[in-house]
Subunit: 255 residues, 2 copies
DNA sequence: CGGTGTCTTGAATACCATCAAGTCTTGTGG
DNA sequence: CCACAAGACTTGATGGTATTCAAGACACCG
């Protein structure tokens, strides 16, 4: 976890050589093509991808609303949540952003009003200049290919969330959220060696806002999952005791 | 509406000159750049955008699952619904597709498993060859600009749906669906001259599947809206009697 | 003309929210 | 280091929203 590591309040530019070294999904997001452009073609093709390393403490915003106007954030370390607010005080989490993930491909193209990105743990992130990314995108086909893949993935995740919120009960939504996160954590290599123990910094209110439920009801559903010895959840770590039952509760087959 | 017009069962190739003439949002989707490429550069740049005009009767699929493998559909006339199924028989409508709209920007890049596109009315549509569109996209910056705009719009619509399903009551979800459709119909020039009467071919079960409710409850909510003289709904046409109250029920301000 | 699909309405029930009280943890300042 | 405040979690009681079940009216189509 990023918690307890030193916190940088102000911007903290980093030499190109160190860019994205700790980023587990370097090849999956925009960083690689963008930075390949920076490394190999800067002089010859005039492509320059400016980026700034920053950090945010848990429970604070990753970018201020103002900054998102021309900054495209990528989470390098820690967990974040992308959400929108309702006038009445409610909020809906659109996605949990894990280390190494671009917050959204849509942000590469345009500012999106009313989006907020909250640091769940302490977060290290980088902001790219949108105009730089767009230039890379228009000039380097591999960057477009890369981002289009992320784009399709993002669409699929949104579809699943819509399906879950529209059609599923609480007792399936919460296991589904957990299973989805577990799969992504495994893919990022962030699981324990045996693949049953995971960092899990989400508070009940995060799960509630992500699944369209209340924290009270989240507590009840999780208690039931614990009572059935399906999982254990303590100290910000999740242990899956009965993966078959968990996947079954999520309406999926254990691989 | 497209209803009652002649139906072509088989594919029906059309000369380039006639392409997209009846399409009210020609400039908003991929057609224009794709076809500009076809018209102006075919010989010189080797770009060829093949497309096929097709049609589907109401209540049938717009593309068979097989066809979506390398066909990208655009709705030229009529209404369609893009949805996914649950194993248990439930389904969730992800978006209502109006005349002149690309079904989804994601389909330009990749097949998406388990997506279905149902014709709500009789529908005239065209399928582009994905490889052709991708070639245009990589070679012509204005095509990329155009589709990225559509992508951001699509993302915003998905966000709103997620927010509605996660946070709002039935009595707001249904007015919101109606308001959203009314806005889009106006933008497409498909409203009555006074802007209060609209074609509205959705069945209660469409509204139910789009809002995560049951047809029974949709009927109750709509009855209440009628009882309050907010709208009238008959013969597949919607008349807005009290726009201020409708927008208010949808949690928005009447412009 | 029956069959199918659509819409309506009421009654009973399931799911989840809200309210409330209490425990425990975490963070902060004295 | 301790005291206190704020946040996080749990559990039970109560109520509201939406589903399910059921029955009947109506329109459309072959």
């Amino acid at each position: 976890m990023a918690a307890k590591s030193k916190i940088h309040r102000a911007s903290d530019p980093t030499p190109t050589q160190q860019i994205c070294c700790p980023c587990p999904a370097y090849t999956l997001n925009i960083c690689q093509p963008a930075l390949a452009a920076y490394g190999s073609k800067q002089a010859t093709a005039g492509l320059q991808v400016r980026q700034v390393a920053r950090s945010a403490m848990a429970r604070r915003l990753v970018c201020q609303q103002q900054e998102l106007r021309d900054a495209v954030p990528v989470i390098c370390d820690g967990w974040a949540a992308c959400y929108i607010n309702l006038p009445n005080g409610g909020r809906q989490i659109l996605s949990i952003v894990l280390p190494g993930e671009l917050v959204s491909t849509a942000l590469v193209f345009e500012t999106i009003q009313n989006w907020f990105i909250e640091a769940i743990t302490d977060v290290q992130y980088r902001t790219f200049k949108r105009s730089d990314l767009l230039e890379v995108l228009f000039k380097r086909p591999e960057a477009l290919e890369c981002i289009s893949r992320a784009w399709v993935e993002e669409r699929k995740h949104a579809d699943q969330l819509i399906l879950d919120l529209g059609c599923r009960l609480a007792e399936e939504r919460i296991p589904r959220l957990i299973v989805q996160l577990v799969k992504r954590l495994k893919a990022l290599g962030l699981s324990d060696t045996d693949g049953k123990r995971f960092p899990f910094p989400l508070r009940h209110h995060h799960i509630a806002d992500a699944t369209g439920l209340t924290p009270v009801h989240v507590s009840k559903v999780l208690s039931e999952l614990r009572r059935r010895n399906i999982l254990a959840l303590s100290d910000r770590f999740l242990v899956i005791l009965d993966p078959i039952a968990l996947y079954h509760a999520a309406g999926e087959k254990w691989p």
